[in-house]
Amino acid sequence: MRWGTIFFALCLSASSESVTSYTNNVPPGESGERYDEDLFIRPLLDGRVATTFTFTTDLLGNVSRQSESSGQHYTLFPLTLGQILREYSIAELHLTLNSGKWNYDHWGYPDDPSVGTGAELWAWMADGPSSTIDERWTGLRNALAGLFCASLGSLDTRHTSSPSTVFPISFSSSIPHGLRYANLPSENVCTENLTPFVKLLPCKSRAGLATLLNPQRIFDADWHGLSIHLRSTEVGTELKLGVQAVFDPVRLSGGRRRDWSFRLLFDRIIHDSCLVATSSVVRVQIPDSGSHTLSPASVVDDNLTAMYNLMTQAPLDVSMSWPHEHTFQYPHVHESRLTPLSIQRTLHGSSQIHGHLFIALTNNGHHDIVVGYFENLPALVTLWMHTMEIKVDGTERNELISNVSYRPHQVLANGQKSPSTFQAILTVPASSTLHLSMEISRAFLKYTEHPPDAMRGWDLPPAILFPVCEPAMGICGMQNTSAGMRDRMYTPTLLIDLPTPDFSMPYNVIIFSCTLITLIFGSIFNLLTRTWVIVRVED
């Protein structure tokens, strides 16, 4: 608290004049590159604090479309990423490494929609004559795996599909592009991923908002994730590096108070601003219910957001406290759900061969919601379409599903099995719950296909709910935010138990069959070569 007051005093004088001008005196576009950083802090209803760091680098001119012979020259844009873009002709790239389960009901929509557990990678690549999209995809995976120290190399054909309606290209050009999508739910994100991530930032973690990226605190958070979003725009290329984390100050304070500050959340404060950034802003969303104090004080705009300009206000330690609240009272669970849809996805069945996949979508609003549903399941499970049932309040409502497309897994040329994809458009009636169920059968894997620690089970990637525009119904999820979905939503991952052999079995089998063969051989051999005599037994 003492620190807080000191900084409060220091920054108060500067804050009044700086609220309106956020830009530094660095002329943007001198090198055709521009770097902005932004931290959005959102106190949540359950006492947690969602923080979203966004580091945006804009590059004029498209990297991947330039010819090979001309050199690559960057100032703010990371060269290592530029090389990858150029080498694999990438128009759009999204990589996220997340850990934890995003709680849509209590936390609302995340600021960066990619919150699926584990690693998720999708890229739009140009279909060029020099190499095919699949070759580029392999190269891209390996390059990113090397860059971020993540096991993205294992996102091979067993996990890769091409769902272009779920992940549309954001900027279309005349060159044909192809999409590859893969996810790896068992991938864990940790310090070894954050370290190379921070190195892509111009100021690294020495100055600016990235100072706060303390791995010990980020990876202690209830939910945390890293993301890289790279897309082509009309003028060039936009790179967004993001870190999202949901902290629990109540836990950090020993279960009593929900007050938070940079010092408490990150164990650090910002001492210096990143001088090469065009803008560097901390935004704090103000909770509806008053009685809190924010320090240093700031002007709150219409969207209930307080802003701090790091360019003029460094050093900075923002803190928010509820002085009249002795102990934080957790709100009731059913109070209000922050997203129009609540999702549940479960696996049922005790048998090792069969099972049931259940999806329950609850519409919390008063309008029907039309959503797309997408599953990208590895060949560990097979969905049986004829067993699909859609029920609302126990009655079958088959008219609520449309545009079903199912692509069962196939054996590819390299002997691996491609994932099966299931895609459909679901209409969830207002204030009710839609149940979708399907029978599944579990794969019987070969002995060598089992991973180490096979008894743990296999992670199934999250399903994705995506907004759809249905012209026939006149509703577009993107436009009508109150009735539809704003952005993609991810279901939690599932853990599936497959028939797992006793791994000492092969040796036992060899020994058993050898013994049996020897026994048979020995008896026949003896029968054929022994001398038979009649033994006379004396009376």
Partner: protein, 498 residues
């Protein structure tokens, strides 16, 4: 006989006759003996014989580059023919004594109609090299054959001993990565931007040898991994890098310099801007006193320039071409050194110093071709030795094909020594790439880690337990046969005696 018991005499049964029993036992062993070749064939590793004789023969070979030097008769005022014969004698003698001359076969002639790749020598006002492959000697240098021989030696076969350590391994393609490093992002003077376009003349001259990809980046925070020595003198404070510091200067943990995309070798050129609190940063000599040098070269890696003088830049954050002219001329020198381009010998000037002369480029071409040929020979020798040593290393058709391609390319390289230097470089490169392709063939590792012990451990329960009754039965049968044989022999003896 034993009709009473209802039994036949077992000895009278057909299969109880010893001959049948022995046939059965024999057929078991025949099957086993016949199966052994099949078993051997099925479990053996494919090892195609490599042309090892040709490889060993290659080791003795050395390419010889014929070089024709033509003296301009008119400018030597009639001394030309005498000089030519003297030069031939001198150069032939030094060829025998010096190792670096081994691969050159220099002929000095007066013939105007010599082959294409000819070097011409004339007398003029100063010792200057001219385009193409032309040397003008000053009156002084042209005075005696020894002096002319010295100049020619320096041009045609520059001293190679010092550069062996620092020259990067040959590659068709290099990435040249220029990095501007600001030591501390919170420093007062931060350089945001720089112009880099000063090296194309050198690169275009070297394009016969290499393709270059140029990349540049700016890093705003590149801390050193160590604390520079602080030296306080009476009127100033400066910071120093000891020779030991230079070896660990590149902080590869913090500076993102590596590429994860390409396998092309990278040559790094770093422009390091020390933070304002650490300026000036000088290189110290072994005694610990500061030198005026701001440039150093990391052998086979790249070059580093420490930019201390930023006074004229003022408050600008952009370094212009003018600001960087010194820096890039240093980088060009470092690039030449790393690529094995030697300087012109002392006392010889170039009429266009901004580009490399043909003499220098030819020397590099010969040096690189020779390097590739030696490397290929060694690689091929290693493959043959390795295959000989490791008995269960598989050798398939592709490996042999690659080895043969490498040998063919080597032959072609030898044949083309008289032609353009770029042709021999082409064939030597082909040879080297085929040889390393063979050496790194992944198929050669396939069965290396599946030792025979594992097979025995798995199959012994079967083979041992089957072998025991077979061997015992054979032994018993042999024993019985021998006893039988002895008794019949004894009977025979008895008959004779009786």
């Amino acid at each position: 006989m034993d009709a009473l018991h209802g039994f036949k005499d077992v000895q009278s049964l057909s299969f109880q006759r010893p001959i049948i029993r022995r046939l059965i036992l024999g057929s078991y062993w025949v099957v086993i003996l016949f199966a052994i070749p099949f078993w051997w064939r099925l479990t053996s590793i494919e090892r195609i014989a490599l042309p090892s004789n040709r490889v060993h023969a290659q080791l003795e070979k050395q390419p010889v580059f014929p070089v024709n030097v033509q003296l301009d008769g008119s400018s030597f005022h009639g001394r030309a023919s005498l000089l030519a014969s003297e030069l031939n004698e001198l150069l032939a003698k030094s060829t025998r004594t010096s190792t670096r001359w081994n691969n050159l076969d220099i002929h000095v002639t007066l013939d105007q109609n010599a082959a294409r790749s000819v070097y011409t020598v004339a007398v003029g006002n100063g010792t200057v090299v001219r385009h193409p492959r032309h040397l003008i000697l000053s009156q002084d240098d042209a005075s005696s054959a020894t002096k002319i021989a010295d100049v020619l030696t320096g041009l045609l076969a520059p001293e190679a001993s010092s550069r062996v350590q620092r020259v990067v391994q040959y590659s068709k393609r290099y990435r040249l990565a220029f990095t501007l490093l600001n030591e501390d992002v919170t420093s007062d003077q931060l350089i945001h931007n720089w112009d880099i376009h000063h090296i194309s003349p050198v690169l275009s001259r070297l394009s016969v040898l290499h393709d270059f990809l140029i990349e540049s980046q700016v890093q705003f925070h590149a801390p050193l991994a160590f604390e520079p020595v602080q030296i306080v003198s009476e009127n100033s404070t400066l910071y120093g890098l000891t020779p030991e510091d230079l070896t660990v200067f590149v902080n590869s943990a913090e500076w993102t310099l590596s590429s994860s995309v390409s396998e092309d070798p990278v040559l790094h050129f770093l422009l390091f801007v020390p933070s304002s609190s650490r300026r000036p940063l000088h290189i110290l000599d072994t005694q610990g006193s500061p030198t005026q040098h701001a440039v150093f070269l990391l052998p086979q890696w790249g070059g580093i320039y420490i930019l201390n003088h930023l006074e004229h830049v003022g408050t600008r954050t952009h370094l212009t071409a003018v600001d960087l002219s010194l820096v890039f001329s240093a980088f060009v020198n470092q690039l030449s050194a790393l690529l094995g381009v030697s300087d012109l010998p002392h006392g010889v000037k170039s009429d266009d110093p901004s580009i490399l002369s043909d003499w220098q480029v030819d020397a590099v071409l010969r040096y690189r071709a020779l390097e590739n040929i030696v490397e290929t020979q060694q690689t091929l020798h290693s493959i043959v030795k390795l295959v000989d040593q490791i008995k269960n290393m598989p050798v398939d058709e592709t490996v042999r094909g690659d080895v043969q391609n490498a040998l063919t390319a080597l032959e072609k390289a030898y044949q083309s020594t008289a032609g353009l230097p770029s042709t021999i470089l082409h064939w030597s490169r082909e040879a080297l790439s085929s040889a390393s392709h063979a050496f790194f063939n992944p198929g050669m590792l396939a069965l290396l880690y599946f030792p025979a012990e594992h097979k025995y451990a798995v199959y012994t329960p079967l083979f041992a337990s089957i072998a025991v009754p077979l061997v015992v039965a054979l032994g018993r049968e042999l024993h019985a046969w021998r006893r039988e044989h002895r008794t019949t022999a004894g009977k025979l003896v008895y008959h004779i005696q009786s």
